[in-house]
């Protein structure tokens, strides 16, 4: 079963919630925020395996190319450009659809491997951990996300998502059986939560909200959740000590008084979402 933790707004506590929850539930932890993954800072797994993420990009055989430029005309991503004497390949724009290879009548296009990122797998005590890392300068994170989420275990997987509501998040939600939205009781948190809720509703999966950094139990997010009939799974109080532990890369469930937060959260997930 895959539990996706997402947020809309960045920095609301996705990684705090997912690493501590994974530890509490003894579940696998997968860091899907491949642009800026932070979960390993907290779980500190010993890395056992590294896999390169490869995408296919076109390579043009100059001898076979008859300069008909059908490939460049076909490519909707402008990854192939027509110049006076040859076809230029802009590999960062390529989506690896392989359409150019199909339209080429002369067999001049071959697909070659290009590295765009890396997958790391390891263990933190009993917890299986994995993450993806997008190479810096590569614009497209989706191939790394797809590779990371291929062949997930049957057990409980907690997937820490990237912020936002764009294609990265869509490709993570593809794998979700249930989702947890982490937000904060501010105007920013509310605005971005609403977008994330609209996205999740497209997937028809059960979901609930965790409100982080709460100073009053009745707040703009709790009001929104009640109005929109969304389950509130947990409210985590604003606490400077949590912020300090987080800043040092410590799991907060190592402290007795915070253990209950995740105990209650896991009970609520089971009772309200499963």
């Amino acid at each position: 079963m895959n539990i996706v933790v997402l947020s809309g707004k960045g920095g609301t506590g996705k990684t705090l919630a997912s690493t501590n929850l994974a530890k509490y539930m003894n579940a696998n932890y997968i860091d899907g925020d491949v642009e800026e993954p932070n979960g390993f800072i907290f779980l500190k797994p010993i890395i056992k395996e590294m896999i390169e993420v490869i995408v296919k990009i076109p390579s043009i055989d100059k001898d076979k190319c008859k300069k008909c430029f059908k490939c460049a005309e076909f490519c909707r991503f402008n990854a192939l450009a027509k110049t006076n004497d040859k076809v230029l390949v802009f590999d960062k724009l390529c989506h690896s659809c392989e359409g150019c290879k199909i339209v080429c009548e002369f067999g001049a296009i071959e697909y070659i491997d290009k590295k765009v990122g890396i997958i790391e797998k390891g263990k933190s005590n009993d917890i299986k951990c994995s993450r993806g890392l997008l190479n810096i300068g590569e614009p497209m994170a989706v191939p790394v996300i797809k590779e990371l989420l291929k062949n997930l275990d049957e057990e409980i997987n907690i997937i820490d998502s990237s912020p936002g509501t764009s294609c990265n998040v869509v490709n993570i939600l593809e794998h979700a059986d249930i989702a947890i939205l982490v937000t904060e009781p501010t105007n920013f948190g509310l605005h971005d939560l609403d977008r994330a809720v609209k996205l999740i509703r497209k997937f028809n999966i059960p979901f609930g909200v965790v409100i982080n950094r709460v100073t009053e139990k009745e707040n703009i997010i709790s009001k929104y959740c009640i109005e929109n009939k969304i389950e509130i799974l947990m409210q985590i109080d604003y606490d400077r000590e949590i912020a300090i532990m987080y800043s040092k890369g410590e799991l907060i469930i190592n402290k007795e008084k915070y253990l209950n937060i995740f105990k209650e959260l896991s009970i609520n997930i089971k009772e309200k979402l499963l």
Partner: protein, 285 residues
């Protein structure tokens, strides 16, 4: 002058600082390039002077009457976007391969709406933002378009960027003068800062670092400063934790308007420093 406020890590205070700077620099154009979680506009009431629909790329559609259900489209789609002769629009990247291989001309590609763009005249300056379709792709191209649209309003452009290092951020870094990178004194903040700095370096953009809420963890702040010094990057400001920031977000008023706010004072200082640095760059050029 084009300044992007970026961070790598989310939630470090980009929007608070971007709005504060934009409010200090007269006549600035506020461009919200965090297109899938845009918050900058919440601070402003202005007169809408332009709106347009933005299309980018295409999506495939199957004409059921023509489809002979041969399955060749599904075989050739690299994005698993076709199942049982139906297209999953969230997965379709609009490459056109299905339409190319279809022998019965049953698949057409139609342009894909990514966002509505809105432009406002404010009491001071302009604001440009987009309402992106939920789950849409093409944020990089949308940001490029937003930035193009700002040109008609002038040259002082304060860009509120998105977290991460992917296409949205790349589109917010291309062709700017200064990247102001907002980080926080946490291990996550430092890790993410390193990655965004590597990115801005490849674009040869002057990067300045601001450590927000620096007093939450003084040790970490020191580590960040040390890292910046070693890599020849200027730490332009250290902003203390300040309850006025939350007040500013809840009241939707720029932090620089709170006279007693320490963070507000720092943001004003940053604006002045940036103007000075920009003048230096210009004279050197």
């Amino acid at each position: 002058m084009k300044i992007s406020v970026l961070s790598g890590k989310g939630g470090t205070g980009k929007t608070t600082i971007a709005v504060g700077i934009a409010n200090t620099i007269e006549g600035s154009i506020k461009t919200d390039c965090d297109v899938d979680a845009a918050n900058m506009h919440l601070f402003y009431k202005g007169e809408q002077i332009n709106s347009e629909e933005f299309y980018s790329g295409e999506k495939a559609y199957i004409d059921i009457d023509k489809c002979i259900k041969c399955g060749i489209c599904e075989e050739n789609c690299k994005f698993n976007a076709i199942k049982n002769n139906k297209i999953d629009l969230l997965k379709c990247e609009g490459c056109g391969v299905c339409s190319l291989v279809c022998k019965s001309n049953a698949i057409i590609l139609s342009k894909n709406k990514v966002a509505n763009i809105f432009e406002y005249k404010l009491e001071d300056g302009y604001l440009i933002k987009a309402d992106m379709e939920i789950g849409a792709d093409g944020s990089g191209r949308l940001i490029t378009k937003l930035r193009e649209n700002t040109k008609k309003y002038g040259d002082i452009n304060i860009i509120d960027g998105s977290p991460g290092i992917g296409c949205s951020v790349i589109a917010s870094v291309t062709g700017i003068d200064i990247a102001l990178i907002v980080t926080e004194p946490t291990l996550s903040g430092l890790d993410d800062l390193k990655r965004i700095l590597e990115l801005t370096k490849t674009f040869n953009v002057l990067s300045l670092v601001c450590i927000n809420k620096y007093d939450i963890n003084l040790d970490m702040s020191q580590k960040i400063e040390k890292y910046c010094i070693e890599n020849n990057i200027q730490v332009i400001s250290k902003i203390p934790y300040d309850n006025f920031v939350l007040k500013s977000i809840n009241e939707l008023k720029p932090i620089t308007l709170y006279k007693d706010s320490e963070a507000g004072k720092k943001v004003k200082e940053i604006s002045e420093k940036i103007l000075g640095i920009y003048q230096d760059i210009k004279t050197k050029k």
